[in-house]
Symmetry: C2
Subunit: 338 residues, 2 copies
Amino acid sequence: MTQPARTAPTLAEVAEAAGVSRSTASRALNDSPRISEETKKRVRAAAKKVNFVPNARGRALAVGRTEIIAVLVTEPLSELFSDPTYSEFLSGITEELSESSYLPVILQASSSHERNRAREHFERRSFDAAIDVSPYKGSELLEVLRELGVPTVLCGQLEGHPYRDVFSTVYSDDEEGGRFAALAMKDRGRKDIVAVLGPQDNPAVIDRLRGYRAILGESLPDENVIYTGWSSGDGYQATRRLLAREIHADGVLCGSDRIATGVIAAFNEAGISVPKDVSVVGFDDHEVAARSVPALTTIRQPLREEGRMAAGIALDMINGAVPTTTVMHMQLVQRDSL
Amino acid sequence: MTQPARTAPTLAEVAEAAGVSRSTASRALNDSPRISEETKKRVRAAAKKVNFVPNARGRALAVGRTEIIAVLVTEPLSELFSDPTYSEFLSGITEELSESSYLPVILQASSSHERNRAREHFERRSFDAAIDVSPYKGSELLEVLRELGVPTVLCGQLEGHPYRDVFSTVYSDDEEGGRFAALAMKDRGRKDIVAVLGPQDNPAVIDRLRGYRAILGESLPDENVIYTGWSSGDGYQATRRLLAREIHADGVLCGSDRIATGVIAAFNEAGISVPKDVSVVGFDDHEVAARSVPALTTIRQPLREEGRMAAGIALDMINGAVPTTTVMHMQLVQRDSL
DNA sequence: ATTAACGGTGCAACCGGTTGTACAACCATG
DNA sequence: CATGGTTGTACAACCGGTTGCACCGTTAAT
């Protein structure tokens, strides 16, 4: 037989069972100091007896909170899921929130249609806060969030953006990461360095390069900086072209671990030994880094921690904390490619 | 300057601006037939003027709906995201819901701690429905959903489960997929078939094998059925063992596309040509299938459509539809390995 | 002319909680 | 015994919508 949908017990029923008023029942369950210990016990017992669980909707209306946090992503879901960067980050958010009663909702905001829907949800006050995973794009939505006064955490450095006073920011110090990578090269005694990076206009790329330069100076001349895509194939192609141009290099700084695997493959093919003849340093500490041969020395971006931090700050802001800017630190992960 | 968080306009303000009562305003905005066209116009104009957007919390309480659907997953987030199967499926759900005002929330339910939290959310009536992506595990939660009367869609065939009367089910017809694969082999004139499948106790494996058998009968003897893991390496190893046993085969049915790539690799290594000497058929239409050499003939499981369907049924059930069972059809994708 | 029918609107209750404030009962104090 | 201060509880309003029902004015039917 189909079990009919029981209507859940309400606070009124608990109150009646305990022989007190609704308000007393509410205060007792919320452990208000104004209620006597004895009454609290009675109310709790009654609540347990009728299997009372406070209704989220009623509570949300009364306290003005939905206990839901929106996570804004600009990538389509399929890409989002296949990029381990995001998945780490999202795991961090989920982890942190699972210690509270808050729930994360992934809200896509790539197409303008999606952004409109998102906007609507915010206007309806469906969420208590927002975490924007890639705030570079879709700034119209940021404008909406600002106007509505939604507590918002931006993940990633938005250079010179106009929201510093209203939004919190969490980002990893890409320049520092660049410095760490370059420093490792320098310590290893490498003098002729090439950088194979992602797209030239990418903020992370720009910052990392600045970090490289801060350490290496003229050891990394302009003509040795190559901008390409993020994939393994891009690294491979770039290295082939380098070899064809007979550029002498004893160190390659890569914009991502996937690029690095391609670079190494090209060197192997050309009979050049990594790390004997040339050192390679990656970026991200992607899962391929440890499995690569030789295992990749790389820069680890603390993505999961960044996610946790972002979620924590969002919760703080909901409770009235002022906007903050948090910088997470990169780490050099020593393996065999250097 | 920090823009103060405007308190959003409420229905009362709209009503006042339009010179009508709250109830009339509400009905006008909801296009009730009881309100005159003239009044509706006035109310709509007023709403637009004060920038009114109905508050989700108030509405949820009044209509008894949160407009949120929980998607239950048993995998940890990282695995979930890296498995393209899930990501396709989730995309389907998201797509379908984005055409309504409903929002999906991914709810993890692998650890018992997570399941407790999930249970709590359901008891609070935070969600209007649930979609269980892998209902094989965590049946305690299903029991809770049943008791609470939460409209629920199970994705995947739960043979002989006790919930058919309360829950809807959506699944792809694995047996049919097996038949399609076997039929293709038969049409190609292959007579000595080997099957390299996933784990023996997997429901999909069992059904697919049944499909193979329905077509091939004695052409697929028991000793030619090999159970292994889902990965490429498993397919490779299995094929090596086959070759060592000098089993003559002109067709291999694989339990997954990844298995198939391993099988092909092993054949190549042994100097056996695919598809000239032996035909190979995969399963899933995973993204590796098209890129494989030779491109893999395989069985496509309509995952995205399955997701859309599941979401659609969930919406229907919220509106009172009775539980249904829906079978999605597999498709043969003809490429070069057969 | 009286009444029935009907379209349009407003009052008030309701969804399920939380919370400001009034009040009753009790104690100790002058 | 009157007064004042606690302490514990209940009443009622409130959050922001939706909705049953009563009521009004108009028109059509008897």
